[in-house]
Amino acid sequence: MSQAPTEPTASSVAADASDERLIQSQGIGGVLSGFVNRVRGGELGMLPVIVGLIVIAIVFQLNEPTFLSSRNLVSITQFAAPVGVISLGIVLVLLLGEIDLSVGSVSGFAAASMAVLMDSRGWDLLPALLVGILVGTAIGCLYALLYTWIGVPSFVFSLAGLLAFQGALLFVLGDKGTVVLPQDSALRSFAREKFLSDGQAYVLLVVIVVAYVVSNLLTIRRRRAAGLTPPSLPLVLVKAGLLLVGLGYLTYYLGIDRGWSYLPVLFALLVFLVDLALRRTTWGRHVFAVGGNEEAARRSGIRVPAIYVSVFALCSTFAALGGILIAGQLTSVSQSSGTTDTNLTAIAAAVIGGTSLFGGRGSAWSAMLGIVVLQSIQSGLNLMNVDSSVRFIVTGAVLLLAVAIDSVSRKARTSSGRG
């Protein structure tokens, strides 16, 4: 299995490469030209975000030499993760072409429920945390009922939720206004003090790269056995090498300071799982189908209401989890938890990362890319001691730019027949 694939094992051409109109592209050069064609056709993928990150890095580094320091990058990964979890839920809702404006309020309310149960009622962390997360799930189910039974547009019920759950947050917190998590709480140390050791980080890295290569080798073998064009082995190895070197260097660089916090690792794991569910399970396929053409999905026998229920419930659950992680990170829940910028940042991150507002197009990874962009901007502006007014304006401008790119690439897709 280690030699480069030259020809499919079958004597004839692979079934998917037999049409003479197909432009055959082979090897690394073919991959590059295919990439250029895709970008021209409006299939931008992660390109705008990566370009954006490079621009951000250069601009802030020139102004503030500590921006790319190990310490600052560690804090970016640490603070990006909780809001990123919320953003992951937004990605799911956007894939259906819907929106949830209330994730910030839900995150605050869920965290407050958990904190109050621990503080005033003396509950243990685990049951309180579970209740907090289930609060989110219940809210999502309520939204789904409003949507599928009564037909209230998602914009409206989530706007109502934005207000109502902010009120619920104030109500739960009561007169105290702020609830501090216990000093020895495991949640606090998980969110603030736990880091992977160097050994753990490198072992994890090797496991990821090996899993990537093995899964690709299995795909190559199965596709070849089925008489289809297998992915090119050299390309897989090049990608695996890049992954190893890139992540390896990042791990080394972060390791100069404290290394990988548990938070971004948990976030990356969630993104990976959601991505797997979206691309490789029938549920994920049906989410894309409903987002692309709901009527077609219904006629194919997909239970469309069940898809809506699962997605709204997941979105609010992720919001609750994110809110709880934020509470752990800040060590307390206050009246301002989950207000203003949590909402804004989570929704903006999903869109900036490349998930379309029009439904049916996007990826779980966009939550990660988007939140890294926004957190970098925030961190850079903080380092430069810029007023928060500027931060809002810059975030708004970046969001507008991202949506503009989405719209332009959508036009390019339409004209080049990529939908």
């Binding site: 049409d19 109109r21 795909t219 490789r280 399970t281 894309f288 999905a297 027949g417 939908g419």
Partner: protein, 271 residues
């Protein structure tokens, strides 16, 4: 018209005495229709003749008020589109119902994905897609491009191929050539013949007399919710068909044909 029309063959799908009312409107009155395996039956009629209602009765969207549906020798009730599919009656609707953002493989297997260890089995599905498209001699360059990148005829091909996933016995095509160009129409008509060669019963709903005459074995004409006439295609002239559809030998189309001097001898509608 390669195979001989044989209305006496045993029918795979048979409707008798179908009645359907909507409020004060009698949409279908005592309608009957038979389709045999390996036979293409065209269902024609003017706007409001009841074609769509009949299609929806067969595909289970509407329940008939009265009448029997016999499928493969058994009396059945079709409770809904999924029940129709489970029985072996596939419908390709006029608007195709494809997801533009998904690729051909995903669309073909939408709602009936093949799984392997809990995950979608892309390799098996892609292999099966190629097999299916080859039996239809379909011209799709790649099954990994989104539907949005395909032409109208190719989309129709995908929609028809998709209807064949569950091995149906009867396929209903609602206006399959309505929005297509000349070459694409020919492609779809080839496809219909391919379905017949594969032993399927085909119900073809169309407004286009040329298509109907090119590909069908029999033609059932509906007018004002009743069976107006039934023809064996190769023994029928366009004028006869038009007369049956409009309900008069003295109609706009024959008058025009007579004026231009190209009319067949019309026999008048058997209303």
């Amino acid at each position: 018209m390669t195979t001989a029309a044989a209305p006496v063959r045993e029918s795979v799908l048979s409707l008798t005495g179908i009645n359907k009312r909507f409020g004060a409107v009698q949409a279908l009155t005592d309608v009957h229709l038979d389709v045999a395996a390996g036979e293409v039956v065209a269902l024609v009629g003017d706007n409001g003749a009841g074609k769509s209602t009949l299609v929806k009765v067969i595909s289970g969207v509407y329940q008939p008020d009265e009448g029997d549906i016999t499928f493969a020798g058994r009396k059945v009730t079709v409770g809904g589109p999924s029940e129709a599919q489970a029985l072996g009656i596939a419908t390709v609707f006029q608007d195709l119902a494809l997801c533009d953002n998904l690729d051909v493989v995903a669309n073909l297997f939408l709602g009936q994905e093949k799984r392997r260890g809990g995950l979608i089995d892309e390799v098996e599905m892609e292999k099966e897609s190629w097999r299916l498209l080859r039996t239809l001699s379909a011209k799709i360059p790649s099954v990994r491009i989104p539907i949005a990148g395909l032409s109208g005829g190719q989309r129709q091909t995908v929609a028809i191929a998709r209807s064949l996933i569950g091995n149906p016995k009867v396929v209903m095509l609602d206006e399959p050539t309505a929005a297509l160009g000349v070459a694409q129409t020919a492609e779809v008509l080839n496809l219909v013949e391919r379905l017949r060669e594969n032993g399927l019963g085909v119900i073809l709903i169309s407004h286009n007399m040329a298509d109907v005459q090119a590909v069908s074995d029999r033609i059932a004409v509906l007018r004002l919710g009743r069976n107006a006439a039934e023809f064996v295609t190769k023994e029928t002239s366009t004028a006869e068909l038009v007369a049956a559809i409009t309900g008069a030998s003295d109609n706009v189309v024959t008058a025009r044909a007579a004026r231009t001097g190209a009319a067949d001898g019309s026999k008048g509608g058997p209303a």
